[in-house]
């Protein structure tokens, strides 16, 4: 299977695209497509659940499935993923239960899964802060001489944050095994990337950090996977960090609360719809004889089952115990928190008595 990406020359500038041959067997190719297709299905279900009020808000990954799944597919079991709030599909591809992931958007808790169990950090909303957590974990792995890699997703918007710079610089200084996967989806909410930076490519920054830089078509899953896999394995074998810019497009608004008609045209969105990552990959798989109708029907059935489970779990789900808000502030609740908990318990008991 063919993959293509452009590397940043050490002295600056993008080198010509280079074709790479990927050693992925048919089962792995099907697995890659399955995760993308199921990811799109759970994403669509999450949008619908938001419209029905079951989720408070949701940041869709629609259009970015190749960038997220391709990158996650390059990780080994013991590696770590540090996602942002727009990486639900990537987190899904990593194996985290989708219902647990959506706790953040549901408002049932801030992070609904155990990060240690999945080696996935909580979805992070303060932009780029997670890039430093990934770098720190990678530094620790290197200090302990463990062959473990951290991959973090950063958006083009977050690429303007100071933490992105501090993370990349520190990762480079300590040759930390971390991969910075920048999904350039063209927008920081409403501001197009051309107004966020005066450069043709975020990948070019790699030169300044003294690390390999890669520019890849973020809607071509094989290329994303290939570039990520090379970066992950280089990091694992002592080669330090890599900056990858995956050029993609956010097909939905920033969140379900956004009105994208205020800042971009339907024509622009349609232009990218023709570059849909799932349709493109499916064409490749069909031409190679890897995907047939039975395979696709199986994914559809599986997707509907997951979507039904999401609806069952999330629609009309009750709020949790309000008193739990005191339970996890510290390992042991302080006397002050214990007293405040008693106050709330009394309020709740009184409210129940008057019902």
């Amino acid at each position: 299977m063919a993959a293509v990406w452009q590397e940043v020359a050490p002295e600056g500038g993008l080198q010509d695209p280079v074709d790479h041959e990927l050693a992925l067997d048919d089962a792995r190719l099907r697995s890659l497509y399955r995760l993308m297709a199921l990811g799109r299905r759970v994403d669509r279900q999450a949008v619908n659940l938001t419209r029905q009020g079951a989720l408070g808000v949701f940041a869709s990954s629609h259009g970015q499935e190749a960038a997220q799944v391709g990158a996650v597919f390059a990780l080994e079991e013991n590696d770590w993923l540090f996602p942002s709030y727009r990486d639900t599909v990537g987190v899904f591809a990593r194996g985290v239960d989708i219902v647990e992931t959506l706790a953040l958007f549901q408002g049932s808790w801030h992070c609904g899964f155990d990060p240690m169990r999945y080696r996935v950090a909580p979805l992070t909303t303060p932009l780029a802060t997670q890039a430093l957590h990934a770098t720190g974990l990678a530094m620790a792995a290197r200090l302990r001489h463990d062959p473990i890699v951290a991959l973090t997703f950063i958006g083009d918007g977050a690429a303007s944050e100071g933490d992105t710079h501090e993370a990349m610089n520190m990762a480079s200084v300590y040759q930390a095994p971390v991969v910075f996967m920048i999904q350039n989806n063209q927008y920081a909410i409403s501001v197009p990337v051309q107004l966020q930076m005066h450069t043709s490519s975020i990948a070019l920054r790699a030169v300044g950090y003294g690390m390999p830089g890669v520019l890849v078509d973020g809607n071509d899953v094989l290329s994303v996977y290939g570039a990520a896999r090379e970066a992950v394995e280089r990091a694992r074998h002592g080669g330090g960090p890599t900056l990858i810019e995956a050029v993609t497009y956010r097909m939905e608004g920033h969140t379900t609360a956004d009105d994208q008609t205020r800042y971009r045209s339907a024509e622009e969105v349609d232009h990218w719809r023709e570059r849909d990552p799932l349709a493109r990959f499916l064409t490749v798989l069909r031409e190679a004889g890897v995907a047939d109708d039975d395979f696709l029907a199986g994914i559809e059935t599986e997707g509907e089952a997951i979507a039904a489970r999401m609806r069952d779990a999330l629609y009309g789900a009750p709020a949790g115990d309000p008193c739990e808000m005191f339970d996890h502030v510290y390992a042991t609740a302080t006397p002050q928190l214990q007293a405040q908990r008693v106050t709330l318990e009394r309020e709740l008991a009184a409210a129940e008595a008057t019902e």
Binding site: W80, W109, H110, C111, G112, D114, P115, M116, A121, P122, P126, T129, A131, L132, H133, A134, T135, G136, L137, A138, M139, A140, A141, L143, R144, A150, G162, D163, E166, A167, N169, M170, V173, D327, H328, V329, Y330, A331, T334, P335, Q336
Partner: protein, 323 residues
């Protein structure tokens, strides 16, 4: 033996690194130089550059990477070189260090110690004499401590490094060279407990960090007036040991809270409010505050007019007695 607070802190770090190989120390200039105040002196030579290392000048980076280190199972002890340079890391501290256990519903605690030399009185240029304790104490999820003596500096730092949750460790830099006759390793009260440093009956002085010494000086001077002042060292700003404070003020009926930071919405307001809530009936006078003024920290040549003194404390005590 007679030891400075700086040496006590250094010994605490050294002993912690000896006892637990997951303890690592990093920050700006903490390696070869041993820190601008020499608190980490010799640690890199003794434990190697994988256990004690210099970082780029990036405070958010230092704290943010400490989170990843703690996720991995290490116990990072990081240094903010000066109080005024701790602010770039506040996003990581407030958004993640303080909240990670809560965000993850108890699944992930972060055993991180963030050491910050703080406070004035050393003739420094601007941004080197700040007292940021209220920012940290106001942030749920943080444990905030500040030692008042060399022996307690050792005990508190050892306890902070062993702590299950993140600790903001505020070091009173003007007291780094103050000496105490104490044997190390020194035992101390656990985190979360205040210490009655001087037993008295006339009124209670409540202080922490650099002002503990000033409060003790005031109490000694007060004996000339026939006043027998009790001095309580808060030690742990969060969570506050209200029981020890309440017991002292119940006995004396009068309290003066002392800190270097500005008064308005400062930490002393929390203590005064807590005392009025808990022991109002025992108070013979309002709880008074002796604090810095509500100004940006002043230039070095006039800072002595800003910093609370024993005389200012005793004036406040007199007010409570005349009430």
């Amino acid at each position: 033996m007679t030891i400075t607070m700086a040496a006590a802190l250094n010994t605490a770090l050294r002993d912690a690194m000896r006892d637990d190989d997951t303890v690592i120390v990093y920050g700006e200039d903490v390696g070869r130089l041993g820190g601008v105040f020499r608190i980490t002196d010799g640690l890199q030579a003794e434990w190697g550059s994988e256990r004690c290392f210099d970082t780029p000048v990036a405070e958010s980076g230092i704290v943010g990477t400490a989170i990843g280190m703690a996720l991995y199972g290490l116990r990072p002890v990081v240094e903010m070189q000066f109080d005024g340079f701790s602010y770039p890391a506040l996003d990581q501290v407030i958004s993640h260090v303080a909240k990670y256990r809560n965000r993850t519903r108890g699944a992930v605690g972060l055993p991180i110690v963030i050491r910050i030399p703080y406070g004035g009185g050393i003739g420094a240029v601007e941004h080197h004499s700040e007292s940021p304790e209220a920012y940290y104490a106001h942030t749920a999820g943080l444990t905030v401590v500040s030692p008042g003596s060399p022996g307690d500096a050792y005990a508190l730092l050892r306890a902070a490094i062993e702590y299950v949750d993140p600790v903001i460790f505020l070091e009173p830099k003007r007291r780094y060279w103050q000496k105490e006759d104490v044997e190390l390793p020194a035992d101390g009260l656990p985190i979360g407990r205040a210490l009655v440093r001087r037993v008295g009956t006339t009124a209670t002085l409540i202080a922490y960090g650099p002002m503990v010494t000033t409060a003790m000086e005031a109490a000694e001077a007060a004996t000339a007036d026939g006043w027998d002042l009790e001095v309580v060292d808060v030690r742990t700003l969060s969570p506050l040991d209200t029981d020890t404070l309440a017991a002292s003020v119940t006995k004396t009926g009068r309290a003066v809270v002392v800190h270097e930071a500005p008064r308005f919405a400062g930490y002393g307001a929390e203590i005064a409010a807590t005392l009025s809530e808990r022991v109002f009936g025992h108070l013979a006078a309002p709880v008074l505050r002796v604090t810095g003024f509500d100004i940006p920290y002043p230039p070095a040549k006039i800072e002595r007019h800003y910093l609370p003194t024993a005389d200012r404390i005793l004036d406040a005590v007199a007010h409570t007695l005349e009430y």
